[in-house]
């Protein structure tokens, strides 16, 4: 017997909310980054779950795409974080606010 789809969706929603809260509340760039990854994975989870529910592979393919894009994004994001750290010895995003009026 299959696990009901609702379980996956609820889990995905919980993960996504956790990720969102992390992005909004954390000051450490690395932790914000990790939270973004959490959001992405929450979405991947629901994609795979829905794919299985419909017995089609589209959702799983899309999940792979999203993982690849996330990996690329990690490369760029981490590089920026490293660069910011080298420049100002901190990765507190509230300190990096030159781009404003």
């Amino acid at each position: 017997m299959r696990t009901p789809i609702a379980y996956f969706v609820v889990l995905s929603a919980i993960l996504f909310s956790l990720g969102t809260l992390g992005v909004l509340l954390r000051k450490n760039a690395l932790l914000i980054f990790m939270s973004i990854e959490l959001q992405l994975n929450a979405v991947n989870l629901s994609l795979v779950a829905f794919s299985r529910m419909h017995n089609e592979l589209d959702g799983q393919v899309l999940a792979f795409f999203s993982m690849v894009v996330a990996a690329a994004e990690v490369v760029v994001g981490l590089a920026i974080i490293v660069a910011v750290y080298r420049r100002r010895q901190t990765i507190d995003v509230d300190q990096a606010r030159e781009l404003r009026w």
């Binding site: 909004l24 509340l25 954390r26 914000i32 995003v93 990096a96 606010r97 781009l99 404003r100 009026w101």
Partner: protein, 644 residues
């Protein structure tokens, strides 16, 4: 009607080349142009040869012109028209204008005067400008002027005429301001250019009018179709617009103010451009356009009145001048007024005769005054001269010949010219014109008598006058030749068959005839008037019996008024220039600075204010941006959800 056109097909056949004397017509303007180009680009290397080159080319142009006219004379009167097509100039749709030269009696007269008097003035300039560092440049401009003047009078359509018209204006500007390092000269040049431009603009509108009505600018086509095409109003409009150009170029009231100031230029320029040739272009234009002027009831009377007013105005103003060249300048304006009077009475041949005679004696007077100024070391004030006849015998005696010719003493040129015009006024039932014209003749005898007696007679009134010396033969030779011309030009009118009037008749028609006082009586009056004028001035300025200072004090403030030309300049300054400047200032400092700039600044300020308000959203806090994304995403989702 007078001012007839030639029947189609009656023109003399000819081509563009060197075949016959007429075929070489194009060389007449081309030779001075060649001189201008050479002197402009290689003049500095030529040194003194630049002057000789310029002179010889204009003289060669005179020879070619004389040959062409001789060939023209070989044909019967009604066939004396030769049109030479050089190239198509403008061709747009059905409208086309060719670079065409036209030789007929009128242009033949003009080219002989321009090149003949012109080459003498060139010769004189070699001596007069010898010390000038920009010697070659002077001759380049002078040659260029002759080229444009020849294009003006040889053009077979209004566009070629207009090319020459503007060209001579340009050369006039360049030559008045030849010594432009003096502010006065530079300003005089600008004044001349701008004042004549007022007239030129009217003329250009007139030309546009002609194109609109006729679809062509060619003289033969326009005059041939004028009677059938033009209404009374259109003819008046075109004629008066063209006359506007003539008023500016020929320095008639009210656009005369530039000519006295133009005396700032070198004296040969005054002689060539501002006495003998360019200023007579206005007369030429009206004579040439006579078929249009005659269609209007108003145009020719306007010409007559302007001429008359100008004659009297300038004649009186000339009496009050102290600068020798300014006397001659006002005299020129006054004499041009006579020519326009003649034109206004349909006596085109009389106007042309006066033009030729005037070219001789006025060029002579100007060159003589240049010789005086040279001998006096650049002194132009007649009050500092005196007794120069003994020190400058050739200049003095030739000048007196010119002066007597101008005054109208028989049998010199001026007498015949003026006599013919005044006789006509009497015979055509215009007693007022006759009386005022005679007063004008008295005035001209008086101002020129005053000039002669102040300059050449009495005692020297300054050290420079005592030490004055005769000019070099290079300068006195043209004076002698011109004196012969001034004395004998009257012969052009002696016999009816050989007269200039007879020569011009196929183009401009007969001089009108009428009844009035007997011709001999009128001539006697004219001669007596001239002698009375000269005698009066002799009494005041040379006899030593009249205290000039006391006389001037008694008629105060007349001398000052005349010296300032009836204050027309100051009136223009106060009435036109000052308001124009005030208006410009108003536009610049209020309308432009506050209005136009204000609007632009308001747009800029508004954008700045909006941006200032909007930039407050940019906090720089990454997390508030993330919150905005989140809220935005929720909002989109909510919207999609509601829609579903």
């Amino acid at each position: 009607m007078v001012g007839s056109t030639f029947p189609p097909g009656s023109a003399i056949e000819g081509t563009f080349g060197l075949g016959t004397q007429l075929d070489m017509l194009w060389l007449v303007p081309a030779l001075p142009l060649l001189g201008a180009v050479i002197n402009l680009f290689a003049g500095r290397r030529l040194g003194k040869a630049a002057g000789w080159l310029g002179t010889l080319l204009v003289a060669a142009s005179f020879v070619v012109a004389a040959l062409a006219v001789q060939s023209l004379l070989g044909h019967p009167g009604q066939e004396r028209l030769f049109v030479q097509h050089l190239f198509d100039w403008i061709s747009v749709g059905s409208f086309s204008v060719g670079a065409d030269l036209r030789l007929d009696a009128v242009s033949a007269t003009m080219i002989l005067v321009v090149t003949g008097v012109g080459s003498l003035i060139h010769l004189y300039s070699i001596g007069y400008m010898a010390e000038d560092p920009r010697f070659a440049r002077f001759f380049a401009y002078l040659n260029l002027f002759v080229f444009f003047m020849l294009m003006l009078v040889l053009g077979a359509n209004y566009l070629v005429l207009y090319l020459g018209w503007e060209g001579v204006g340009l050369c006039s500007y360049l030559l008045i301001g030849f010594w432009f390092d003096k502010t006065v000269n530079a300003n005089a040049a600008k004044k001349a250019f701008i004042t004549t431009r007022i007239g030129d603009t009217a003329m250009l509108i007139g030309l546009a009018f002609i194109v609109w009505r006729f679809g062509t600018l060619d003289f033969e086509s326009v005059f041939g179709a004028a009677g059938a095409t033009l209404t009374q109003g259109a003819a008046t409009a075109i004629a008066l617009l063209l006359f506007g150009g003539a008023v500016g170029k020929s320095a008639q009231v009210p656009l005369h103010v530039w000519l006295p100031d133009a005396m700032a230029g070198p004296t040969p320029v005054s002689a060539l451009i501002h006495a003998a040739t360019m200023v007579t272009a206005g007369v030429y234009l009206v004579v040439r356009s006579a078929p249009i002027f005659e269609l209007s009831d108003i145009a020719l009377p306007v010409v007559l009145v302007i001429g008359l007013v100008t004659t009297l105005y300038a004649g009186t103003a000339a009496l009050g001048q102290t600068d020798i060249k300014r006397v001659l300048a006002y005299s020129t304006i006054s004499q041009l007024g006579y020519m326009f009077m003649a034109v206004g009475m349909r006596a085109y041949a009389a106007a042309m005769f006066m033009l030729v005679a005037h070219a001789f004696y006025k060029a002579l007077l100007f060159l003589g005054s240049g010789s005086v100024i040279h001998g006096m070391h650049e002194e132009q004030d007649m009050r500092r001269m005196g007794g120069l006849l003994r020190r400058m015998p050739v200049t003095g005696s030739t000048f007196i010949v010119g002066a007597v010719a101008l005054a109208g003493v028989p049998p010199l040129a001026g007498f015949f010219a003026k006599d013919q015009i005044l006789e006509l006024a009497n015979h055509t039932g215009r007693p007022a014109v006759w009386i005022l014209g005679t007063i004008g003749a008295l005035l001209s005898a008086m101002y020129i008598g005053r000039l002669v007696f102040l300059t050449f007679f009495g005692r020297p009134r300054s050290e420079a006058a005592e030490r004055a010396h005769e000019s070099a033969p290079l300068m006195t030779m043209p004076l002698l030749l011109l004196a012969v011309g001034a004395a004998l030009a009257g012969a052009l009118n002696l016999t009816p068959e050989g007269s200039l009037a007879h020569f011009l008749e196929p183009v401009v028609g007969e001089v009108p005839h009428g009844e009035g006082l007997a011709a001999w009586a009128l001539s006697t009056i004219g001669g007596v008037i001239a002698l009375v004028g000269l005698a009066l001035t002799w009494l005041v300025y040379a006899s030593g019996r009249v205290d000039q200072t006391a006389l001037e004090a008694r008629v105060d403030p007349l001398p000052r008024t005349l010296l300032n030309g009836w204050y027309v300049d100051s009136a223009y300054e106060k009435g036109l220039v000052a308001p124009a400047k005030a208006g410009a200032h108003l536009l610049a400092s209020v309308v432009d600075a506050k209005g136009v700039d204000g609007l632009v600044n308001a747009v800029g300020g508004g954008v700045r204010w909006l941006a200032g308000a909007g930039r407050l959203l940019q906090t720089g806090f990454v997390r508030s941006y993330a919150l905005a994304f989140f809220v935005g995403a929720i909002a989109v989702l909510a919207w999609v959800g509601v829609r579903l």
